[in-house]
Symmetry: C2
Subunit: 224 residues, 2 copies
Amino acid sequence: MPLVRVHNSSISLDGFGTGEDQTFEAPFGTAGQRLTKWFVATSAFRAMFGSAGGSLGVDNAFAARWNEGVGAEIMGRAKFGPQTGAWKDDDDWKGWWGAEPPFHTPCFVLSHHPHPPITMEGGTSFQFLDATPEEALRVAQEAAGDLDVRIGGGPTTVREFLAADLIDEMHLAVVPIVLGRGVRLWDGLEGVEERFDVETVASPSGVVHLTFRRRPRTEAAHGA
Amino acid sequence: MPLVRVHNSSISLDGFGTGEDQTFEAPFGTAGQRLTKWFVATSAFRAMFGSAGGSLGVDNAFAARWNEGVGAEIMGRAKFGPQTGAWKDDDDWKGWWGAEPPFHTPCFVLSHHPHPPITMEGGTSFQFLDATPEEALRVAQEAAGDLDVRIGGGPTTVREFLAADLIDEMHLAVVPIVLGRGVRLWDGLEGVEERFDVETVASPSGVVHLTFRRRPRTEAAHGA
């Protein structure tokens, strides 16, 4: 049975998954590079863009799992770009990832406003959906076939899929920084950990990796 | 040079150091026992109240350091009791800790309202101060002599001492739960980690221990 997975979602000690004031130059807004520094340093990240080198420790071991067996991604609009409101007809933005994005699968971008699909090199496409999490997941699962679906973020999207109880596996990286402002991952999710088995691993980088595995649904019903 | 230390301050993944709606029956309010479960299970906690047994792993190694070399504690009013406003003349509350509290030192309780001092068995006293963090620290350091001062919490008090840059060493335990509501430790402290060297250790219990050591002040001035 294919899974719904989250990988490499970074949050600060105060629970922010990104900053505020996102722009084309600052995809994470006021958070800058602070949340993603550990990830950018990994071999897995460099390999996404054809570069050699990078760290090989526990940060990389978690980072590298992001695209294994994944057949489609769902992302929030703000992960794709900083635009808000209706898309402009002459907007030729194709995301932050260059001509050949590292996804290599269909990617479904949640947006209330219609946008024509975009086909990129290397098997990545961006298709825009005005849909609930459940509806978007059905579309993405159809595209993924026997493979898993990744919920690619940002934090608002992960939060919505957690709230709808659609996540089977989630990897978070808690970065030991205090962002002070931005988008909170956990709002409205009191007690969400009760649905999951949680493991924690600290990296020498200072980042803490948490994995959440959804408990079998019958067992969870008894457990509450 | 005596230090100012924080120990065993537990926070949730969403950054709450306690719940809301504190009562005499629920010192952590809506958080219940969720934040302190790891601590209560340790040998060090049991020893505070004369009990044997308890865990001996990494949780205990951190927990046990709380009172070594400490000569005085400063605590917020809500750590002492759930009362608000002026103290009642007939209030005979002496804290949650029984006739012989585990502190065995003077404890300074921050309160805007006057309250007579309380002397307990075993060397603990509670003295009430209407003071800024700097003023309270001066009083506590005088009482502690050559020993360190502990900032005993709750989260509002720790936050105020962090904001005033009065903390030398801080041990936090991040508990992998989502509380959803309560008192946030980090509000107003964006970038506070830049003043500290931070280390992280994950425990098999799932709790993550973070230690913050204040960088030498001249070095920090150059580093920013």
